[in-house]
């Protein structure tokens, strides 16, 4: 779309700004919409109403409050590790945002194994949480950190296994190819809505959502920060700006995972083919579709209109908001699991279910 070449520093600064926007803007939006407003409506109250119109500036006020607070480091703590831990958690969030496609060209890095990279770096936050728990020199933090590590590792597996079904169906680990496969796909020869994998991979979608909920330590799975027994788990000793970093990490990661889920299951930045056909100049030129359907070659390749680089982020934001609504809806509805129930649910329910899903998907992929 833009033919001009930009110098390296200009693109770098642009990418840096976009990375901050991609991580922080949706986090602020969902925290306001869901954490402040939706949960208030659930409890028959209005939530923040004073800061800005309908309390929309409340989050800025909160950030200002946190930024002013003293940054307390416990005396017996391992100071360097303690101070570095929130950044490690946030690093995982930014690394996750790298591979999320917001349009055919609107992506930071287009790895061939994009989803593999995403699932790998999402585990980095475990290291940060363990660092926080261990370095705080507090029993609560240590227990919270250990619980978090156990939980995140347990739910990493169903998360990965749920994605495997999608990858089998799309025939590619590349995020763009997964979007293309859903847009150009057909359900028994009917291609009006493409083939969003939420239909064929519904079990995988549910497992993915549950696993994401656990990965984010959102409420039914918030054993690591169970306030009735662990004060605030691995975050107990943190205050001020470093607590804010944990907070941003938690909610920004929720959005990035929602972005990932919308790419994997809801068709990503693309819109259904019947919408594209209705608008002139939007329909993609598909090549290699026949091969993809026969299963002889890899995924179909399609060249999309570059308008999708503008339209895509809006479509993605819509899908992200719908998915995060579910995440926060569940979060504010259910009480938390007990530790043993939580582990049993992962190992005895989700993982076998995901394995069955993979098997069935593989068999059907061969049959059709």
């Amino acid at each position: 779309m833009i033919a001009a070449e930009f110098p390296y520093w200009a693109t770098s600064i642009f990418k840096l700004g976009m990375a901050l926007a991609v991580v922080l803007a949706p986090a602020g939006l969902t925290v306001y919409l869901y954490l402040f407003k939706m949960v208030s409506f659930m409890q028959s109250r209005l939530g923040p109403m004073e800061a800005g119109p309908y309390g929309s500036m409340q989050l800025l006020a909160e950030v200002g409050k946190w930024a002013q607070k003293e940054d307390i480091v416990p005396e017996r703590s391992d100071e360097f590790v303690y101070k570095a831990a929130p950044y490690v958690v946030l690093l995982s969030t930014f690394l996750l945002a790298l591979v999320v496609p917001f349009g055919p060209g609107a992506q930071f890095v287009d790895f061939d194994t994009g989803i593999f990279f995403a699932l790998a770096v999402s585990s980095v936050s475990v290291v940060g949480i363990l660092m926080a728990g261990w370095a705080s020199a507090s029993k609560y933090s240590l227990m919270g950190g250990l619980r978090a590590a156990g939980q995140l590792i347990a739910y990493e597996l169903p998360l990965v296994l749920a994605v495997v079904g999608v990858v089998i169906q799309a025939g590619s680990l590349n995020m763009q190819d997964i979007v293309t496969a859903q847009t150009t796909g057909e359900i028994f020869g009917w291609g009006a809505i493409g083939n969003p994998f939420i239909i064929t991979q519904f079990v995988g979608f549910i497992i993915f959502l549950i696993a994401v909920q656990a990965e984010l330590t959102q409420t039914p799975f918030d054993m690591p920060i169970a306030e009735s027994e662990l004060v605030s788990g691995y975050m107990t000793e943190y205050s001020g700006f470093r607590f804010l970093l944990f907070f941003i990490g938690e909610f920004a990661t929720a959005n990035i995972f929602a972005f990932l889920a919308s790419v994997l299951f809801l068709g990503g930045w693309s819109v259904p083919p019947f919408v594209m056909d209705a608008i002139p100049g939007l329909a993609p030129e598909v090549t290699g579709l026949a091969g993809a359907l026969n299963g002889t070659t890899g995924a179909a390749t399609a060249s999309f209109s570059s308008w999708f680089n503008l339209l895509g982020p809006i479509v993605m934001a819509t899908k992200m908001l719908a998915l995060t609504f579910i995440v926060y809806w569940v979060r504010f509805t259910f009480p938390r699991f007990r530790e043993d129930q939580l582990q049993r649910f992962a190992w005895k329910v989700l993982i076998p279910l995901a394995l069955i899903n993979i098997t069935v998907t593989g068999v059907l992929k061969v049959v059709f």
């Binding site: 939706m38 409506f41 659930m42 409890q43 028959s44 109250r45 209005l46 809806w329 509805t333 259910f334």
Partner: protein
């Protein structure tokens, strides 16, 4: 799997509450902008009708946290009947209620034999300085304007004839 219907029902409850709040409004009130009218007998603040007070100290002695301070002196009042002797009455010098201590039990209002203390539903009298919560008798007297007219506790009961007719 047996838990799935309960899980869905729970989601329905919270979603229903969202819909209810959006369509019918919240159960809460945006306090500084809109105020709930307290019920007429709400225990907001205690008002003093100075003419009725005889400085008998009953309220001060019954007060559980000793937040009422009374000082008075004896003085002569004009006779009630023509040609009578001047009466000896107690004149209030000081009647303070420390609302920083008051626990709003209402015992002083109950024990007052001369109908000098009343409950008022006013509640907005917080102060930046705690010492300002000590209301003196003029401040307590001003609250009398806010005491609502409501049915007496024994509405319809036989009215006791007072020995000494009051004007």
């Amino acid at each position: 799997m047996a838990l799935v219907p309960g899980v869905i029902k729970g989601l329905g409850v919270t979603f229903g509450e969202i819909v209810k709040t959006v369509t019918k409004g919240a159960a809460t009130v945006q306090y500084p902008h809109e105020k709930e009218a307290p019920p007429p007998r709400a225990r907001g603040v205690i008002a003093l009708l100075e003419e009725n007070c005889t400085a008998c100290m009953l309220c001060a002695r019954e007060c559980p946290d000793w937040c009422i301070y009374i000082e008075g002196h004896k003085t002569l009042a004009p006779p009630r009947r023509a040609g009578g002797n001047p009466r000896s009455v107690n004149k209030l010098d000081r009647f303070d209620i420390d609302y920083a201590l008051c626990m709003y039990c209402g015992i002083c209002v109950d024990v007052c034999p001369f109908e000098a203390l009343f409950w008022s539903p006013e509640y907005e009298y917080s102060e930046p300085k705690i010492a300002d919560l000590l209301h003196d008798k003029s401040r307590l007297g001003q609250w009398m304007e806010t005491v609502p007219e409501f049915e007496s506790y024994e509405a319809g009961a036989e009215v006791k004839q007072k020995k000494v007719p009051r004007p």
